[in-house]
Amino acid sequence: MGRQLAMVMDLNKCIGCQTCTIACKRLWTRDEGMEYMWWNTVNTQPGRGTPRDWEQSGGGFRKGVPKPGALPTRREFGDAWEYNHDEVFFGEKGPKAHLQVKGEKPDWGPNWDEDQGDGDYPNSYYFYLPRICNHCTHPACLEACPRKAIEKNAENGIVTVNEDRCRGYRFCMEACPYKKIYFNETKKVSQKCIFCFPRIEQGVANACARQCPGRVRFVGYRDDENAPIYKLVEKWKVAVPLHPEYETEPNVFYVPPIAPPRYDENGDIDESSPRIPEEYLVSLFGPPVIEALATLHDEMAKARDGQKSELMDLLIAYKWKEMFGGFDKDPATIEWVKS
């Protein structure tokens, strides 16, 4: 087996700014038929996500056997709303015309339940969960396709759709438990995150990672022992995959979020239980998240005591470019070839 590229996202640093989402949108999903696509999404957790209720939509495997999955509609993805710009700007209606979504009133969007979260004041909680395709080791999409139109690159593990082979059957879309495959109704093919392979090939990190102001995203090969991915995933074991029970073996990993402490009824700090319930984090990341949280707490305590912590230094990412596992070339150096 070849090498595998991976991403680690530190959920303690994500501010939900969507810069990653827009970086991806501007680079890859501006053509016709891609309007509703967001290969990168950032949703508030707990929440219903994008597409709506994707965590309950099936797909993936159970004990190695594929699990049937849903085909989310465009409305469930949030669709691409069209506005009455013509009416407002050129309709000569003055203040009587207001900016509105055309057609049926939307009841969902790609970031509809932003900042709602859960829990009661003053102990309410939420965090942001950025998601891309997980470029899985055991990709349900690839295995579902009857035409072998989905390929996993032998050298870097990036999973892509071969649009020449794809016939738009959407078996992949049903099979992906993360619902990160989109159907392009204009080209009539499935499309998805390409892990910015044309950048990667030229030594430049993914747009979502490079543009992130929060220094949330680490990029690199999983087996590169001197780089942050290996250290966070294998050595410190503080980065865990989302929904490992889907059995696709994701190659995107998350450093779980630690919220500020709770308040008790007297308004005093209550550290007896975390603000974000552990059960909730276990439901997202599986039981290994408990160990990961314990390690993070230990190392945070060390750093507070003035001791050196390799882990904290890594997560703080003092040297921005070291987050990119060697893919640290300036995007301005890319030679784009139009095909």
Partner: protein, 224 residues
């Protein structure tokens, strides 16, 4: 099934599914079966269709004519709803195809085999004024080639699709194309996809083994 020779019918006449020439020649009712779930090429498709009906269209009325230059098949079947768009992720178009052997021993059940291609003419309701030509050498291997060689027309009226698929009798192509020579016999197969039932790819109703196809000699005389 006999492909009658209609020397004075031009291609426009043949492509008109409602033209009276079609009514003047016999139509064959071809029974269809759903493709077996165990034959679907991936485990995910098998699991998804384990308890679902595959192949809701149980027969298709087929007629075929040639004018010495072109050959046309007319397919007619009942479809309660017209599924002709792919405007949402869960909508699939109705579709139809004719399969023809390129090599005489090509297996139709598996859509050919390595070295034994099957040639298919494929029409779908979201592109009703056209058709594609495919060749396959086994399940999931179909490749589209020589766009424009196959002509297609389809329309839905009162719960029925009428689709015509036509081609020149003689085509020159590097790709595997079925030979259709007046005065000789070959085989054919039909498949129908019910878009409203989520049918696409190998999820379809099909006619089973090759059915006989005899092309009347261009003189209008019966084959010997």
């Amino acid at each position: 099934m006999q492909v009658d020779f209609v020397g004075d019918a031009g291609i426009d006449v043949l492509l008109d599914a409602d033209h009276r020439v079609w009514g003047q020649h016999p139509t064959t009712s071809v029974p269809l079966l759903g493709t077996p779930v165990g034959m679907q090429p991936t485990a995910a498709i098998q699991v998804a269709w384990m308890n679902k009906k595959i192949g809701t269209v149980d027969h298709v009325d087929v007629a075929a004519l040639h004018n010495g230059r072109e050959i046309a098949f007319r397919l007619e079947w009942s479809a309660a709803t017209e599924s002709s768009d792919v405007s949402d992720n869960n909508s699939f178009p109705d579709a139809a195809a004719i399969a023809l052997p390129v090599s005489p021993d090509a297996p139709i059940i598996t859509m050919g085999a390595p070295g034994q291609p099957v040639n298919a003419w494929y029409w779908r309701a979201d592109e009703p004024q056209g058709a594609r030509q495919l060749s396959a050498e086994g399940l999931g291997t179909s490749l589209t080639f020589d766009q424009r060689v196959i002509q297609g027309r389809g329309s839905w009226k009162q719960g029925r699709w009428r689709v015509v698929l036509a081609r020149a009798l003689r085509v020159e192509s590097e790709s595997p194309v079925a030979e259709l020579i007046p005065g000789t016999a070959t085989g054919f197969g039909v498949a129908i996809w019910d878009g409203a039932n989520g049918e696409r790819g190998g999820i379809k109703a099909f006619s089973g083994n090759w059915l006989p196809l005899e092309l009347q000699a261009a003189s209008g005389e019966r084959n010997a």
